[in-house]
């Protein structure tokens, strides 16, 4: 239902403190980006949970589908040589 009268849906991302990435915290409806940020401030940072807010209208997010999960992610499962423990080194070798 995309009624002209209805405010679109926005996804909200919050940086909890400098040095950390923005993290998805939830969504809300707002008429425009400015209002989405104001609402996000009121709803998601009432207890100092954030120092920065990103909002993006939900319809602009492209997501991978769960049906693709196998073809996208399975190829990584049998590549143990991408992990440090794959390589055998004697205990005497330090700091590596």
């Amino acid at each position: 239902m995309t009624n002209k009268k209805d405010w679109p849906l926005w996804e909200v991302f919050i940086r909890s403190k400098n040095g950390l990435s923005h993290k998805h915290v939830g969504s809300l409806h707002a008429a425009d980006a400015e209002m989405a940020i104001e609402n996000a401030r009121d709803v998601y940072t009432r207890r100092s949970e954030g120092v920065s807010i990103w909002v993006v209208e939900s319809r602009y997010i492209t997501a991978s589908s769960p049906d693709q999960a196998e073809s996208l992610f399975d190829p990584a499962d049998d590549k143990v040589y991408r992990h440090p423990t794959f390589y055998n080194l004697p205990d005497e070798v330090k700091h590596i």
Partner: protein, 320 residues
């Protein structure tokens, strides 16, 4: 059932049994989706309607300290409603449909909010008992199988604990005050105790949804288990206040390591669910009025956003 459907359902149940979370775009049985939409939206409506009995006392709070606390609590409940509506929307219903169901009386909300808040002590009893009972349920739901619902619950639980503490503090102050104040606290407990126990829903033997919801791990404890847990936690708190729980059958059972308690008046419960509680009509009317009277604000905001968007585009054209 056709074999492909059956295989999908078996795979789904296997994921649930392995304690995997289900996310919005994952395949799920229709009945699972429907159950979640019903439960999450009822929960959202309860948060929103739940603001009304407390809103009733904001202007009459006895001190500024009490007033800011009550306001902050009510504001949290509005936020809880929003987290939950958003979680329901991930299942493919729109906010408008959900509100429509509330406003036409098709959707239910927690019956507790159909009782009136008659004295200041009720603000204490609501925070302590009603939020207390809600917390029991919500802590369980942080482990529910649907990801967005579980995440909303984590946020909500973090915010809830102050609600219960501020309520208990109100009653503690009254109980340490004059005799008339203590009486007021006792009167509030008398009126809110049984409705609070009813918040956990019908007894397991009469609950139509419990078994399937447990199998899908939407719920992780039954209504009766949660109710018992609530009573066991709350009775000692009443003792500390020096108040009497209005149940002559209430008694510690050494063998079970639980309190035994009296029979709940299920006729009253179903009567309020069916819309005949003391405030059902008033609550619904307040919600409908708020929605209708706010329509022009929502429309104006959209018109303003649209105008601003058009201006920006015109400016871009000028620059180019």
């Amino acid at each position: 059932m056709d074999p492909k459907q059956k295989a999908l359902e078996e795979q789904f149940q296997a994921r649930i049994d392995a304690d995997e979370k289900i996310e919005p775009k994952d395949w799920m049985p229709d009945a699972y989706r429907k159950t979640l939409i019903r439960q999450i939206s009822q929960h959202a409506h309860s948060e929103v309607v739940g603001m009304l009995p407390e809103g009733n006392w904001v202007t009459r709070a006895p001190s500024l300290r009490r007033k800011v606390a009550l306001l902050a609590k009510i504001q949290d409940e509005a936020g809880h409603g929003l987290y939950l509506y958003s979680a329901a929307e991930t299942l493919g219903v729109s906010r408008e449909e959900l509100l429509e169901e509330l406003h036409t009386g098709k959707a239910k909300y927690s019956s507790i909010f159909n009782y009136p808040s008659l004295s200041w002590a009720d603000m204490g009893a609501i925070g302590w008992l009603v939020d207390g009972a809600a917390i029991m349920n919500q802590v369980m739901l942080t482990r529910t199988s649907y990801g967005p619902y579980a995440r909303a619950m984590v946020r909500i639980c973090k915010e809830e604990s102050f609600h219960q503490r501020q309520g208990y503090e109100i009653l503690l102050t009254l109980c340490r005050g004059a005799e008339a104040q203590k009486q007021m606290a006792q009167d509030a407990l008398n009126r809110w105790w049984w409705p609070a126990l009813m918040m956990f829903g019908p007894s397991d033997k009469d609950s139509t949804h419990t078994q399937q919801s447990m199998r899908w791990r939407i719920k992780r404890k039954t209504n009766d288990e949660l109710r018992q847990q609530f009573i066991d936690a709350t009775v000692p708190q009443a003792d500390f206040l020096g108040l009497t729980v209005p149940d002559p059958a209430l008694k510690w059972n050494e063998e079970r390591s639980h309190y035994d308690f009296g029979e709940i008046d299920w006729d009253e419960f179903w009567n309020v669910v069916k819309g005949n509680g003391p405030c059902n009509r008033q609550r619904l009317q307040a919600r409908v009025e708020a929605h209708e009277e706010g329509a022009w604000v929502r429309e104006a905001a959209m018109a303003y956003a649209e105008k601003r968007r058009r201006r920006q585009e015109e400016r871009k054209v000028e620059v180019a």
